[in-house]
Amino acid sequence: MKIEIANGRLIDPANRVDRVASLYIADGKVAAIGAAPSGWRADRVVDARGLVVAPGLIDLSARLREPGLEYKATLESEMAAAVAGGVTSLACPPDTDPALDEPGLVEMLKHRARSLNLAHVYPIGALTVQLQGTALTEMGQLSAAGCVAFSQADVALLDTDLLWRAMQYASTFGYRLWLRPIDPHIGRTGVAHDGEVATRLGLPGIPTSAETIALSTILTLVRESGVRVHLCRLSAAESVAMVRAAKKEGLPITCDVAVHHLHLSDVDIGWFDSNTRMVPPLRTTRDRAALRAGVADGTIDLVCSDHAPVDDDGKQVPFGEAEPGVTGLELLLPLTIKWANEDGIELSSALAKITSEPAKVIGVAAGDLAVGQAADVCIFDPSAWWKVERGALSSQGKNTPFLGLEVQGRVRYTLVGGKIVHEIDA
């Protein structure tokens, strides 16, 4: 199958490309850019005039809810959501039921994902057995089964000695650690940022120190062990400052933020909107500004959706009882564009945060459109507005605080391995 994507604005941040050019795809790979290869005859021509042709998006945190949590979402629904959002590769956290702590579970997940033939799925293995924080998993076997990194998902590690040993062990064999800084004690009963809003609404608070203490612990151990760590989901201004200083010092760290944290603050909890219940919590507008600045200056390497579909039963309860999580695969692109537009960031730089940068952290050859690369492509209309509504989302989870918002940037075609897996009319 030969596909010609004609006359789109080709943006390939990794290769510093941003120009109108046609993309030629053959045998699942990028065959040529600009000028057709000799003897080219396309089976299909996609008219991309006025559209942006970008590498398929790479989402570092998307929960597919399998195995075990199929009442919230299924692989079918969430993989459809991924390609509808232009996401062609995603990493899924180990907080399934059971947790991804055995090779068999990982192989089954990869097999199921492959059979759907949509986005590439990169499982993140559990760092400890059942995420209980007491014993390391068999990281070697899990890596062989396809795990690209190891994490505790949203589960705080009580035992710092185990964390230190995990770092030493992982670095012995070059396994990646993705860690979310959460203190196991401070704020453990909290449900919202410990500030004005939580006080007014009478919600138990989660202070910023719940993040910075754990972050400080991780940074100290990174300094000690030299292990490379990816820090997941920063939420506070102080954390951004700590990471900036640590990077300046030369520590081998990268970090990310969930895209909704670039747009919302605790004020958006409004009158107890349970769709704003998330981990880490939404913090103040000052924190939001610091996170945005952190992404802009590269302190925060990349942006992810932190996709977490939750069923209505999990959200139609009082705020404090609501299950944390935001559905996000289909909003990663428009919310990244919104940030870029609002802060005057070039589209190409913004797209790097959801393509080439996450590719580096996962360590896969993806996220760019060089000749010879697998043709994972996201083609979108950057100026088209659409309204975030339940019916507009393919994900089984409709839990997003952005319901009712008009957003800009609509995915028109998604290609995985040179095959069109998602397509909508203008």
């Binding site: 410990d194 500030g195 004005e196 939580a198 006080t199 007014r200 609404l201 009478g202 919600l203 138990p204 608070g205 202070p207 409004g270 009158w271 107890f272 909107d273 349970s274 039963d313 139609q316 309860v317 009082p318 705020f319 404090g320 009882e321």
Partner: protein, 320 residues
């Protein structure tokens, strides 16, 4: 949910969920409406027919005797039929969700839900659910939700203060004790600031102060003597027994020493200062018996006024 969820499109009160964001006129009209209901209690026939034929469901997901009883008396004096449901925590263990429970009771033709719940925001959830499903003729009165709000307590506190002190714009009011966990404190603070009280103070240790409480328009004191100086009204908060020993406080004795109201400390307030408490009191923990039973205590009149205020709230929302 941009519009204040307790007001209808005409700005009239249809639910009472919190005092936050209620216009001063609405609060004043509730207090004014309560006035004649106070005197009803002194009549031989203590009933008016304002809610005749209406069904008031006391929906208590958290235990309470006093608040439930005063709502029950208020509803009965308005001639409503009252149904008490003590659901406790068991309903969720039986698998029924909060909103399923509500839907079932709506099907039994409830007119007013009086809701108490341990989770902040539960009455908002119910009111939002009713409004979203075309059942806005069913009203919700928050009888206390988590740490968030206890608006009828706030209103009865305002009524009591107005009864003894008249003008809010000349008062200094101190609220003492466990502000962190107190829905009573939050509702009273909103009510007082809305009615123009120039100085509202909160007094307590840092462990019992919520983050950024100053943003609610209060001055924070950790030294009780300093905080009481020149006050017109002293409101003591209840300290839950499970919080008397542990990470927040070392012992009830030490709390009493620092923040218990004694005659000696009360002497620092104005000579005509009144003492209030939402009840039930822990004598010897937050308040000394001679103060609780003393001539400046208005703790029992608070209870009496509470019935009139709850009658006012239910009669107003049922008419909107």
């Amino acid at each position: 949910m941009i519009r204040n969820p307790q007001l209808n499109a005409n700005g009239e009160l249809t639910h009472l969920l919190t005092l936050e964001g209620l216009p001063a006129d609405v609060i004043r009209s509730i207090l004014d409406t309560a006035d004649p209901f106070v005197s009803i209690a002194e009549r031989e026939v203590k009933k008016v027919p304002l809610l005749r034929g209406k069904a008031v469901f006391n929906l208590f997901f958290e235990n309470s005797t006093r608040t439930r009883t005063t709502f029950e008396i208020a509803a009965k004096r308005l001639s409503a039929d009252v149904i008490n449901l003590n659901i406790g925590a068991s309903s969720t263990s039986k698998g029924e969700t909060l909103l399923d429970t509500v839907d079932n009771l709506v099907a039994m033709d409830a007119d007013i839900f009086v809701v108490r719940h341990s989770q902040s925001g539960a009455p908002h959830l119910i009111a939002h659910h009713l409004n979203a499903h075309g059942r806005s003729h069913v009203h919700v009165v928050n009888a206390g939700d988590g740490r968030h709000a206890h608006p009828t307590q706030g209103l009865l506190d305002l009524y009591t203060i107005r009864h003894y002190k008249k003008a809010f714009h000349e008062l200094t009011v101190a609220i003492v004790g466990d502000v962190l966990h107190s829905r009573v404190a939050r509702s009273l603070i909103h009510g007082l600031t809305t009615l123009g009280t120039p100085e509202v103070r909160v007094i307590g240790p840092k462990t019992l102060m919520p983050a950024k409480v100053e943003a609610m328009g209060v001055r924070v004191f950790h030294d009780m003597r300093e905080g009481l100086r020149g006050c017109d009204v002293v409101v003591m908060l209840r300290l839950q027994s499970e919080r008397m020993k542990g990470a927040l406080l070392p012992s009830p004795g030490e709390f009493f020493k620092n923040y218990g109201l004694t005659q000696e400390k009360l002497a620092l307030a104005k000579a005509d200062a009144i003492v209030m408490h939402p009840g039930p009191m822990n004598r010897g923990v937050e308040i000394d018996s001679p103060v609780a039973d003393g001539e400046r205590s208005v703790i029992l009149p608070q209870v009496t006024f509470g019935i009139a205020v709850r009658m006012a709230v239910m009669s107003i929302i049922a008419g909107n």
